[in-house]
């Protein structure tokens, strides 16, 4: 009798826990999602009404496209997009070549210098020369104020390389041996056997690099002086952090009194424009992202 009583009690406690856990998850999702929703609503709101609004913003205030229209007139945003795409395309190409090469060589067995090479490479994950010597190095290489100053230092990410190496190492050795007997060169083995069989890992690593390029701003800030070369994130920084909306909002267009209010909505609109590409693809690719973390969890 006592035993059944006990069992019921436990299940009751567990049911209460489940309910609270469910409620907690709902709250968590709201907290995670609300800021983005707020931005969406604010960007479509009427500037004056928005500035008077207090509390949560659940729906656009008096739907208006003014902010987007103003932004479309600004050449810097489009230019920033262009620069970011340039960095993304060339950076990604370089990333994939370098990462595949390193991962392929380091995943081969019976290669005498692989241990030494691995130590040389992994050591850089834990120790670096520091910000200033790195900066001086780039300047000495003559890369200042070129987009290559942003691309080349990030040519390979050691973490991503390890993820890739783990993926490559999972391809059965027998396939490579068979190809070698048929006279295939190393590069051919990589290109025709290893890469086609590791598509999932390659997709994951590719996405990691792409997101990193899209979101990066620090190196661009350090090395680029010409505004025409600024990637999108650096333009965003001027607008969001330095609060410089003057270049975005021409008082002639909106009336002097409204300029500062409109500046506020333009801020939200540029956030949307910069985040939308990621938000659009995110639901479809997020499971690949998580897969990468799990592969990377296998220690180097």
């Amino acid at each position: 009798m006592k035993k059944t009583n006990n069992a019921i009690k436990i299940s009751k406690g567990e049911r209460i826990f489940d309910v609270f856990n469910f409620l907690f998850m709902i709250c968590m999702m709201i907290v995670m999602f609300y800021p983005m929703w707020h931005v969406v609503c604010a960007s479509f709101s009427d500037a004056r009404l928005l500035s008077a609004h207090t509390g949560l913003l659940l729906w656009p205030k008096n739907f208006s496209l003014t902010a987007y229209k103003l932004m479309a007139k600004n050449p810097m945003i489009l230019n920033g997009y262009g620069n970011t795409l340039y960095i993304l395309v060339f950076g990604l190409a370089l990333n994939m070549v370098m990462t595949c090469l390193a991962a392929y060589v380091l995943s081969r067995k019976n290669v005498m210098f692989n241990k030494v090479l691995t130590v040389i490479i992994v050591f850089t994950m834990y120790f670096s020369g520091g910000l200033i010597p790195t900066y001086l190095n780039i300047i000495q290489l003559g890369l200042e104020n070129t987009l290559w100053a942003v691309i080349l230092p990030g040519a390979i990410s050691t973490y991503n390389m390890i993820v890739m190496r783990t993926g490559f190492a999972a391809v059965p050795d027998s396939l490579e041996e068979a190809a070698k007997i048929d006279g295939a060169s190393s590069i051919r083995v990589l290109w025709q056997i290893i890469i086609p069989l590791s598509k999932a890992t390659i997709a994951v690593v590719c996405l990691y690099y792409a997101v990193a390029h899209w979101n990066s701003w620090f190196n661009a800030m350090l090395y680029l002086t010409d505004r025409a070369k600024f990637p999108l994130q650096l333009i965003l920084r001027e607008i969001l952090i330095d609060n410089d909306t003057a270049s975005m909002v021409n008082a002639m267009d909106v009336g002097v009194g409204d300029a500062s209010f409109v500046g506020e909505t333009v801020k939200y609109a540029v956030i949307i424009v910069s985040v939308v590409p990621i938000l659009c693809v995110y639901p479809f690719i997020q499971r690949y992202f998580t897969k990468g973390v799990m592969v990377g969890a296998v220690k180097g």
Binding site: L101, A102, F127, Y135, K299
Partner: protein
């Protein structure tokens, strides 16, 4: 005895030479393939390490790293004697330790809670939404933080319900650490939980059955089955976290701070950035950066050693 070992050594040497020869004959295409990668690491990682030598010199761009005169530990002494030193070190440790105390357990708890969810569909939606902030750029996150905590922003309104209404929260020194830590948790909690979720899914379900039969309730099963099951992952993540004890996310600090709140927000690396790139005090800032790298490296070695000794879990 001596002779024997000598003989063995000679034998080894010979076989090493032979091994080397056959290895190069067999694997030279691989060594050629990795050359560009090696070149990258030498030029972009090891050359700056050599460049860090200017921390012990008085760097003059016209003389280069090699030609600049040595000054020993002069730059380091300057840093220790600097009136800002105590403030910077205190801020770095405060922010870092608060991030560890609040930010490190958060994703573990979230993973445990995900693990207890019964509805698979709801679970995957909740997980997907929790990862989302990780993909938003730092510039945008800081822009959001700035908008929400400045006057009229939603968090400002919430806080001023109980606190006083004077200036935006980012102009109040006492608010910086909570803003930094909480926004960090917001952005990373979901993403960081993935690795623990992976570890949780690897726990043998039979252990839970056995515990249940032995009469363990949910809480006891978490303590005695779940936590020991993910302990190696927790330890590895903790070692890595301790290795960046002094590397507080300075990019974020540079985006968020302003001279009004340097008192609580200026850390070693943001200071390093300012004296290096804004005041161009090359040698001094290199010394600050090198000290930071060296301590971090030491931390990771010590933590790894401790972990290997006490728990058989280690990074390498």
């Amino acid at each position: 005895m001596l002779k024997l070992s000598n003989g063995a050594a000679a034998d080894d040497k010979l076989s090493f030479k032979n091994r080397l020869k056959s290895d190069i004959r067999r694997n030279y295409p691989l060594y050629i393939l990795i050359l560009p990668v090696l070149a990258y690491y030498l030029i972009f990682c090891y050359k700056p390490m050599y460049g860090a030598l200017i921390a012990f010199k008085e760097y003059r761009p016209d003389l280069g790293v090699f030609g600049s005169p040595w000054v020993g530990f002069y730059q380091f002494k300057r840093f220790f004697a600097n009136p800002d030193f105590v403030r910077i070190l205190r801020n770095t440790l405060t922010i870092s330790i608060s991030s560890i105390v609040f930010g490190f357990p958060a994703p573990i708890i979230l993973a445990l809670l995900f693990n207890e969810l019964k509805m698979p569909k709801f679970k995957s939606v909740a997980q997907t939404i929790s990862y989302l902030p990780h993909f938003i750029s730092l510039v945008v996150v800081c822009g959001l933080v700035k908008t929400f905590v400045s006057q009229g922003g939603i968090i400002y309104q919430l806080v001023t319900l109980i606190g006083d209404k004077k200036v935006g929260l980012l102009s109040r020194p006492e608010c910086f650490v909570p803003i930094y830590v909480l926004s960090d948790i917001w952005q990373q909690i979901g993403w960081s939980s993935i690795i623990y979720i992976a570890a949780l899914s690897a726990i043998d379900q039979e252990l839970y059955e056995a515990a249940r039969i032995d009469g363990a309730n949910k809480w006891k099963r978490v303590i005695h089955v779940t936590l020991p099951g993910i302990a190696p992952t927790i330890i590895i993540m903790f070692i890595l976290r301790m290795g960046s004890l002094l590397s507080v996310g300075y990019e974020k600090i540079i985006l968020l701070y302003n001279p009004l709140i340097y008192e609580t927000s200026d850390v070693i690396l943001s200071y390093n950035y300012r004296v290096g790139l804004e005041q161009q005090d090359w040698s001094y800032s290199s010394a600050v950066g090198l000290l930071n790298s060296a301590i971090n490296f030491l931390m990771i070695i010590v933590m790894n050693k401790l972990s290997a000794t006490f728990s058989d879990t280690s990074l390498w």
